[in-house]
Assembly symmetry: C2
Homo-oligomer: 451 residues x 2
């Protein structure tokens, strides 16, 4: 059963009907047509310019709809490479692009930089502070944010990586720690400053630990006079029994050995019980570390609150199999902000391909409904595999039918990531930055900046 408001264009709306399409309501306000209109172009509002929202907008390019994409930032961010900004290998502009630039040739799309504060589902309007944007269809793709598992007081000591500002802040902490160690006359303090602890053994934690170790062991030596950055201690802490829990066990083992070869201490079965300005506690044990990076938990954006929709423990909206939010006609939610399951009932992972496929599918659904066609075949996630890199010539790739580790996986990882960047300029620049780093061990963006 579909509600009327989700159906194809039709006539006969009555003045004042809150569920009339946006185009009809606009004409009432303008004092135009009284009841209904002949041609209605429904309005799709997309909240969030991440992988899911952007893909949905693009997939609506040829649909007879007007698209409004709202994001509180002006840029789409390629999060999988954010750790390279945090470790001074890439610049923010290498991994982020203005959303309106990406959509500039799509004539039915508009982009608005604004912060969503709520949704008035009764009037079918998105609230942006004092401003209201009406919708016929709403796609909520507002992603996820950090979670310190109920310990938000740890945030100042263990910053996480989600935005460009997070990445440059972590970069500042890492580089400042080495500067302060070089300046310090106290051996204990120098040791604390040269200890870097990463919490969370998922792909971000593994990549971050490998990148910090390479920075310290390969890029920085020679630049300092009083400290030996090759003696830097990098500790990767994971609460569970293995790294990269979503990968096959053999690849987890490879990742651990590869990190240890880089000099990273891998601590499994080690839940963090406390973070403070001196370091962290792992149960009884205390590790003094000036720089702690949190790569352990995420929670969904507050979209569940905006919509007053039921969520799971991580704040993810529980959606129907067509990503509609139960009880809210015309409202869909996708990506990291929802709990979606595959055919076998397993939750889908919070990765870019899931969000992109969901975005494209919901866009197709809306386009077909607007045209009065039948719904598409039910959504099915096509798992293209997963990748994680550890360091120079070391990565793991799992395609289900094929598992790779080592240099071949590393080259594959690099090519895939360059392929998925947006635009020829970024591909060229990132490829050159990587080539340069590969040949020289140098990092291009070792800047300590602060607004």
């Amino acid at each position: 059963m579909r509600s009327a408001s989700e159906s194809a264009p039709r006539r006969g709306w009555r003045q004042g009907d809150a569920f009339a399409p946006v185009a009809v309501r606009r004409q009432w306000r303008a004092g135009g047509v009284q009841d209904g209109v002949a041609a209605v172009c429904p309005r799709v509002v997309i909240v969030g310019g991440g992988f899911g929202g952007l893909e949905a907008a693009k997939a609506l390019a040829s649909a007879p709809v007007e698209v409004l994409l709202v994001d509180r930032r002006n840029h789409h961010l390629f999060q999988p490479l954010l750790y390279q900004v945090a470790t001074a290998a890439l610049s923010p502009a290498d991994v982020a692009w203005p959303i309106r630039r990406i959509l500039r040739r799509q004539r039915n799309a508009r982009v608005l930089m604004a912060e969503v504060t709520g949704v008035d589902a009764a009037r079918r309007e998105v609230l942006l502070g004092a401003r209201r944007e009406p919708y016929d269809f709403l796609i909520v793709a507002s992603g996820a944010t950090h979670s310190w598992f109920g310990h938000d007081e740890w945030a100042p000591f263990a910053p996480a990586l989600k935005t460009l500002a997070d990445a440059t802040a972590v970069r500042r902490r890492i580089l400042t720690a080495f500067e302060r160690a070089e300046a310090s006359d106290d051996p204990a303090e120098r040791e604390r400053l040269c200890t870097f602890l990463i919490v969370g053994g998922g792909p971000t934690g593994v990549e971050m630990a490998g990148a910090v170790a390479e920075l310290a062991r390969q890029s920085l030596p020679g630049d300092f006079r009083r400290i030996d950055t090759r003696k830097t201690r990098v500790v990767l802490v994971e609460a569970g029994p293995r790294l990269l829990a979503s990968f096959p066990e053999a690849l987890s083992g490879y990742a651990r050995r590869a990190l240890e070869k880089l000099g990273v201490e891998v601590r499994l079965h080690s839940p963090v019980t406390r973070c403070d300005e001196r370091g962290v506690e792992l149960g009884e044990e205390r590790i003094d570390a000036a720089t702690v990076v949190w790569a352990a938990g995420v929670r969904a954006s507050p979209a569940g609150n905006w919509l007053n929709a039921p969520t799971d423990r991580a704040g993810r909206i529980v959606v129907a199999s067509d990503f509609s939010v139960p009880g809210l006609p015309g409202v869909f939610a996708i990506g990291d902000t929802v709990l979606a399951r595959d055919a076998a009932g397993r939750p889908l992972p919070g990765v870019a391909p899931v969000a992109k496929q969901q975005g494209a599918w919901v866009a197709r659904l809306i386009a077909r409904r607007v045209r009065g066609a039948a719904d598409p075949a039910p959504f099915r996630y096509r798992d293209a595999g997963q990748l994680a890199t550890i360091g120079r010539r070391a990565a793991v790739a799992d395609f289900g039918w094929l598992r790779l580790s080592g240099w071949l996986a590393w080259w594959f990882w690099g090519l895939v990531h360059i392929y998925f960047l947006i635009g020829a300029r970024s591909r060229m620049m990132v490829a050159l930055e990587w080539l340069w780093s590969y040949l020289t061990h140098d990092r291009g963006a070792r800047l300590i900046t602060r607004d």
Copy 2:
């Protein structure tokens, strides 16, 4: 007459003598040699890693001294291209490099990231908060900062360009103004948001005005739906009778015409009498502008206060012809923080070549004194000419014997700036960014970020 402390190494210092070389005082502290030492390696402390300080450090590479370069930032900044960061053409990492990376092969040099809080000339120590760094020779090259001509209350409304953080803040303001204009329903507010006012008709103001006009007229159109960025108003305000006052009049005229061709309103004889959150006042006239950039005045760093030395109205230390600070043995000051004059008594301009030549000359002076050789020939500024760019294929160059304007000057400007960047990586990256922008009118770093 030279003071003893500035002389070549000698024996016979008496325990506790505050003027004994640093190496001797260290050995006293360590309980070593009692009175004097055989071989003394004097210590040169350089404050500031800008053009002057860095050049001085490099020029001491083969001198029998130990060099300590202190800067409160970790990077050397190529200020002539900072306006390109502010207008989204280049990334911060394209125009800044870690100082310790630049000096890493210079074994007699150490780099310390710390903020100078004063100088204890009696004990010959630089104060860095609680820390003290002794010197035999001190080169103060701490540069300049903004000046709002006694109106510091204008600073929040008319930010200036001196640091990377300034540049990304100005970039954020410019890009946010267009975003807010696109979102606004109020025509007057849209007009105010699409008005950009640059105060100061020197090279920075001219380059900034040209770059904002090109951003609005060539890069942004097509990305917006509700505003036409080609109608952006860019106003360049200069108190004096012409732009680029240090250039020949013919080139000033060319710069003005080139800017007007780009759609910039040039207002001469227009001193700013007030800045507030709505815009600026030029005497009776009021211009509403959401974004104002201050490119009008600089004042010297507080080095005059640290040294308790006489300064001019702009805070610049009045130095002797050998850049020594009168009354302070072993202390020199160079670059934007001093008032230096050429042979004819005219003040030298606050540009990179002046600071670099002064830095190299003072380093040579110190090296010769340490070796017991005669002082070098008096400093003479070799004026290599001046350059300013207005926009695509438009620039002015003045070499004294040759004056250029137009596309040839523009190509020359580009080549010179790429040549003076540090390292092959930056040269390659900036050249590619420029080539890309030239071909596509695109800008690589249109990011609104905030820490």
